[in-house]
Amino acid sequence: MALKSSPVLFGLLARLSRRSFSTSKALASKPVTVRDALNQAIDEEMERDDKVFVLGEEVAQYDGAYKVTRGLWKKYGDKRVIDTPITEIGFAGIAVGAAFAGLRPICEFMTFNFSMQAIDHIINSAAKTFYMSAGAVPVPVVFRGPNGAAAGVAAQHSQCFGAWYGHCPGLKVLMPYSSEDAKGLLKAAIRDNDPVVFLEDEILYGMPFPMSDEALAPDFVLPIGKAKIERPGNHITVVCAGKATDTALQAANELSGKGIECEVINLRSIRPMDFDTIAQSVAKTHHLITVEQGWPQSGIGAEICARVMESPTFFELDAPAWRVSGADVPMPYARALEALALPRAADVVAAAAAVIGNKIAEAAN
């Protein structure tokens, strides 16, 4: 069987030159945790614009259930950092209404699992109103909080909503990985005039990442809808976001030792999705895997694969693209089962080897 390595180009090469690599220089002034980067982003934006306020459960006096809003209530007071009762659909609705009226609420869900209580306001009220009103009513609200797997908290508290929200027109959906992502994207989200769903990872909160002086500056904002190439490579494209980026990078390290160089693309934004960056990478590597924590069916990886199928990028592939995802089960509590329910670096290594191996096997025929 013939390989498809001489692709139909469709101008892909022309676009290659536009590819940008990592935005931050490695001049890391200091390591900053994702938690602190988020905190900085909110603080700076509250400082900059008095229409910005925070509401959610335990965000004020308790400093946030996961301490992301630490110190903000002390600094900005009751008016702008507001503890709500445990009434997600109520306060999400209030946030959206306030956004209708021109304020810029940051609505924290203690975790995104609880946004399910409020999903009607996120989708029916926030996402659709600008369209339904023919542009009369913008909805500049940010819904944020930890999303995805957390350790040992079982089925109702451990799941990814990237695909759920990524499904909905009218929403922008961001999924930061590093501290730089967290800060730059959250600031962009707060300044954006559309409703943004901002999916953080509890497991990353305490993780320190080097931040450049540029990223530490108060005017640092990342563009929404642009992916970041975390690690360049020639052999296989690995597309991921959020915590899965960590898994992918670990795998890339390991694979590098085996002579396989991964190009790791951190999507940063699930919707809009930077398919150009993916396409350009696949044009170079001819192999693709996606990594996500969410369930496989209709997931982020499924979307990427579908876009590949629908585009000339299909002809770039030397082997079928694979998804590495959460297993198709509710999250179990028991330690060994939980570990098997989520993609690990070893799974990404195995998938990359299989996809590249597929090509070798096919070539041998």
Binding site: A154, Y333, A336
Partner: protein
């Protein structure tokens, strides 16, 4: 405690209960014998849209007293063990202790019948045990082992048993589910009543009010039980609730405020509630005022939003176990030795169950895809990659 135990009573070591033949005296100066029963006054209930509330006094036999004490002690001990297992990192994730609130569950359970059903939130270890799950079943679910009542798949927030529907992690969600259980009691005509428990924080969720409305419209035999322990995580009731008279928040549903630290009060109130609901009058709201000693979950030190003194004061003046112990001892319904014996027994049983909960293995990894569906239409379940399919297994026997 020691000041409450008459020193003479200590001499009674080894004596068994002497049954009083005559009518029961509520006060007695018979220091050297115990009585067969005693009557206790109950702190006045507060009523909402009710002419008559539960009995203001209740009689306990010595046997009742010992049983209630044993349950209270067991629930406290389960939580001590859970707290330790968490500190040893054997319990992972969240772990919400019930210490301080035992009288609510124990009193309620004492009044409940076999046919009645219960649903609650994540503070469910004690309830699960009271509903018939063994200590090993509870503790090894917390440690995620195969002997757990959910085979280790549910963890501390998702325990289930006969007529006990969890163990729910989503604040407030259990309340309409409870109304649904009550709907089924009525539909089947089995005479059962459902107790749907929720916290003062959960009390503000909108879905409660939707459930209230339908329960009242359709006269469902549902008792909405608000366990007001003063806080929802780090937020005190007055910072979360525009009205903290939770017993009246069903508006058109009658309600009762109950001293949730008094196991006799919670038992009597529950008896009343069962009578009320089974007479076809529809739902009832019960607010049980209680207190949680530990932080919200094990990771919350529980000291930033309240003072240590506050916790200490409740422990000293309102503790559900200590206060019950004082009552039954000072009424000479039981002897200190009997209680000590129970303490020893309970400690031993919980310690043994704890050991099992640490030594049992987890279920095999094939159960990752076990019982996702009652009847899975696909034999294969996708794993993390296309090359790692799982097989759907039916672990629990299907009917």
């Amino acid at each position: 405690m020691s000041k409450l135990i008459p020193s003479a009573a200590k001499l009674l070591s080894g004596t068994s209960i002497t049954k009083a033949a005559g009518p029961v005296a509520t006060t007695s100066n018979a220091k050297y014998s115990t009585k067969s029963e005693s009557t206790f006054e109950i702190k006045p209930y507060k009523l909402h849209k009710l002419d008559k509330g539960p009995a203001q006094s209740a009689t306990l036999t010595a046997e009742d007293a010992l049983k209630l004490y044993e349950k209270l002690a067991t629930l406290r001990r389960i939580e001590t063990a859970s707290g330790n297992l968490y500190k040893e990192k054997i319990i992972r994730g969240f772990c919400h202790l019930y210490s301080g609130q035992e009288a609510v569950a124990v009193g309620m359970r004492a009044a409940m019948r076999e046919v009645d059903s219960v649903i609650t939130a994540y503070r469910c270890h004690g309830w699960t045990h009271l509903m018939g799950v063994s200590l090993v079943g509870v503790l090894s679910e917390l440690t995620g082992r195969r002997t757990g009542c959910s085979r280790g798949k549910g963890g501390s927030m998702h325990l289930y048993g006969r007529n006990f529907y969890g163990g729910n992690g989503i604040v407030g969600a259990q309340v309409p589910l409870g109304a649904g259980l009550a709907f089924a009691h009525k539909y089947r005509g089995d005479g059962g009543v459902t107790f749907a428990l929720y916290g003062d924080g959960a009390a503000n969720q909108g879905q409660l009010f939707e459930a209230y409305n339908m329960a009242k419209l359709w006269d469902l035999p549902c008792v909405f039980v608000c366990e007001n322990n003063g806080y929802g995580m780090g937020t005190s009731v007055d910072r979360a609730s525009a009205s903290s008279d939770y017993y009246s928040r069903g508006d058109y549903i009658p309600g009762i405020w109950v001293d949730g630290m008094d196991v006799i009060a919670t038992r009597e109130a529950t008896r009343f509630a069962i009578d009320y609901c089974t007479s076809g009058k529809g739902p009832l709201v019960m607010e049980m005022e209680t207190y949680r000693y530990s932080g919200h979950s094990m990771s919350d030190p529980g000291t930033s939003y309240r003072t240590r003194d506050e916790v200490q004061e409740v422990r000293q003046t309102r503790d559900p176990i200590t206060s019950f112990k004082e009552k039954i001892l000072s009424n000479e319904l039981v002897t200190p030795d009997q209680l000590k014996e129970i303490d020893t027994q309970v400690r031993k049983e919980v310690d043994e169950a704890t050991k099992v909960s640490k030594s049992e293995p987890e279920v095999g990894v094939e159960e990752l895809a076990g019982d996702i569906y009652y009847s899975s239409l696909e034999p294969q379940i996708r794993g993390v990659t296309p090359a790692a399919p799982l097989r759907h297994v039916e672990v629990v026997a299907r009917k």
